[in-house]
Amino acid sequence: MERRKERIDRGVKVRSDGIYALNSYREVFYLAFPRLIPILGLLVICPLFSEYWKEVFVSTAVYALLAVSWELLYMGGLISLGQSLFYGVGAYIAGALNAYWGVPPILSLPIATLVGGVFCTLMLLPVLRLRGIYFAMVTLVLPLLLSRFVEATRILGGTEGLTGIDSFSSQWVAFYLVQVALLVAFFGFRRLEGSDYGLVIKGINDNDRAIMSSGINIYWYKTQILFMAGAVGAFAGAYGAHYDMFAGIPGFALDYSILPIAAAAVGGMGSFAGPLLGAFILVPLSEILRALGALRIVFYGLFLVFAVVGLPEGLFHFIRRKYEQIERWVEVDKG
C-alpha cells in the first residue's frame, strides 16, 4: 500500500467562473471571514492596543499603503524600486502647502494625493514604454535625484526640511484616517483586479503583444495604473508629513522603498492581500527589533532575498491554499 496526498477544494466557489453559489450561512461566513479580518483587525482590534502600539500600527498602515501601491504596479509588470519617490513627493507637497500657505490637512491631503500622483506619473512617463529592468532602474534613481536636487538647490528647506507642519486634530482622527484609507485602497484595488480592467492590466504584463493587437493602447493603461499607484503613495507621504509634522529628505529614504517590496515578497506577490499581510508582519517585527537600529534594513534586504529565492509563492498564497482546500492522505493500490 502506498499513500499519496490528495487536495480537495472546499467547493463553495465554482472555480472556473469566479461565480459564488451560496447555499447557507456557513458558506457566507466561509467567504466573508477572510475579508472581515483586515476590516475588524484595523478598525476594532488595533485601537485596543496601547498608545505606543497604535503608533506602530499607524506607521504599519503607511508602509502597507506603499506596499499596496507597489503591488498595483507589479500587476502591470512594472517593478518599482523607489516607492520612496511617491512618499517623498506626497510629503513635500503637503508639507509645502501647509508650511508656506497654511493649507489645513483636510485640503492638503487630497491636493497632495492628486498633484503627487500626476507629478510622479509625469516623471516616470518616459520610461513607461520600456520593458524589463529599465523601469526598476529609473525608479531606483529618481528618489535619489530628487533628494540630491533638494540638497543642492536648498529649496523646500534644503537639508533641514520643512518643520512645524500642522498635525491632525486628534490621535483618533489620525489613526482612523490612515486605516480607512488603507482599507479603501486595498479593497478598491482588489475590486479593480477582479474586473475586466484588471484583466487587461494583468494581460499587459503577461503578453503585451496580444493586448496591443486587441486595439488597446497599453501605454495609456500603464499611465493610469501609474497614476493610481502614485496617488496612493503620495497620500501615504502627505499623511506621514502631517503625522510627523515634518517633511524632508528622509522622505526619499530607502526605508520607504525597500520595505514595501520586502512586504510584498514575504506576504506574496500577485495579490493585494500579500503585501498587506507582509507589511503587518514586517513593520511590527521591526518595532520589536528596534534595538537593532540600522540592522533593520539588513533584515529587510535578507527577507527580500529569501522570499524571492526560497518562497516565491509568499505567505498569503500558502494560507489561502490551506483555507480553500482540504488536504488528506489517501491510500492507493500499487498495481
Binding site: S16, D17, D196, Y197, L199, V200, G203, D206, N207, R209, A210, I211, M212, S213, S214, G215, I216, N217, I218
Partner: protein, 257 residues
C-alpha cells in the same frame, strides 16, 4: 468591382543585411480572401508585422480606407479595423478560454461600435466562442487555456479577431498544427466571415486547404512577390516552380510553433 480596403504599396524592410520584404505592393478588397504563400523565411510574417504596425517599414506605404497607417502603433491599427492572429500563439494561459476574448471586447473599438457601451462581455465572448467551434454547453469554454489542445487555441485566436468586429482579418498560419478535421470545420467559419464582407489575408503552408477557399494567391520568395493570380495560374508559373523546386515536401515543413 467592390471597394479597395487595404493598399500596400512599395513596402520594403531590411534587417541588417537581410532583405526581409522587398518592394511589395498589393490590394485587398472587401469580401475577398487573399492567400499568401511562399517558402519559410520569404518575408510573409514580416509583411504582416508591417501592416499591423509591429515593424516599421523602411520604404513604402500602407493605406487603409484612405488613412495612411504606415508605422502607426499596433493598437491604433487594430482600432481602425485590422485584426490579426499570431503564428506563435501565446494565449493567457491561466485564464479560462472565454476570458481570453475579454481584452478584445474591452477595446475602445468595440465600445465605439456598440455606441459607448460594452454590453455583457462574458455572454458575447461565449457567443463568439460558439461561432468558432467551442461547444457551448460543455466545459470547454470554461477550461483555462493551459488545458486546451492546440487546435482550440488556434481557433481561440480567430475568436479574438472576430470579437474586434474588424474589416480586415490577417490569419498568420492559422491552419498549421490543426488536424484535418479541425481545418475542415474551420474553413466554413472563414467563408462565413468573407460572406459578411470582411477582407481576409491568409498566410498558409497548407496549400490544398487554402486553394479551396481562395481564388487569389500571392507567392513570395526572398521577400519579393514573384507571382499573383488564381491558384492554377501561380502553380503553373515557372518562377513559382523554381522557388518551390526541391522543396516538394513543403507541407511537412510547417513550423510547429
Amino acid at each position: 468591382m467592390s471597394d479597395v480596403l487595404l493598399t500596400v504599396s512599395g513596402v520594403s524592410k531590411h534587417f541588417g543585411g537581410v532583405v526581409a520584404v522587398d518592394d511589395v505592393s498589393f490590394e485587398l478588397k472587401a469580401g475577398e480572401i487573399v492567400g499568401i504563400i511562399g517558402p519559410n523565411g520569404s518575408g510573409k510574417t514580416t509583411l504582416v508585422n508591417i501592416i499591423t504596425g509591429f515593424v516599421r517599414p523602411d520604404k513604402g506605404r500602407v493605406v487603409f480606407k484612405k488613412e495612411d497607417i504606415t508605422g502607426k502603433p499596433p493598437y491604433h491599427i487594430t482600432d481602425v479595423g485590422i485584426a490579426r492572429t499570431f503564428q506563435m500563439i501565446r494565449p493567457f494561459y491561466q485564464l479560462p478560454a472565454y476570458k481570453n476574448l475579454i481584452p478584445s471586447l474591452f477595446s475602445p473599438r468595440v465600445r465605439r461600435l456598440l455606441g459607448g457601451k460594452y454590453g455583457d462581455r462574458d455572454a458575447v465572448a461565449m457567443d463568439i466562442l460558439e461561432e468558432v467551434g467551442f461547444e457551448r454547453d460543455s466545459s470547454v469554454p470554461y477550461k483555462s487555456a493551459r488545458n486546451l489542445p492546440h487546435g482550440y487555441l488556434k481557433r481561440l485566436e480567430l475568436g479574438r479577431c472576430i470579437a474586434l468586429r474588424p474589416e480586415v482579418i490577417i490569419l498568420d498560419e492559422l491552419f498549421s498544427g490543426m488536424s484535418i478535421a479541425e481545418v475542415t470545420s474551420t474553413v466554413p467559419i472563414i467563408e462565413k466571415l468573407r460572406d459578411e464582407g470582411i477582407a481576409i489575408i491568409m498566410i498558409e503552408h497548407r496549400l490544398r486547404e487554402l486553394f479551396q477557399i481562395t481564388d487569389h494567391v500571392l507567392v513570395f520568395n526572398f521577400g519579393r512577390k514573384i507571382a499573383e493570380g488564381t491558384p492554377e495560374e501561380v502553380m503553373n508559373s515557372n518562377e513559382v516552380k523554381e522557388a518551390y523546386l526541391g522543396s516538394e515536401e513543403i507541407e511537412e515543413e510547417e513550423t510547429a510553433c
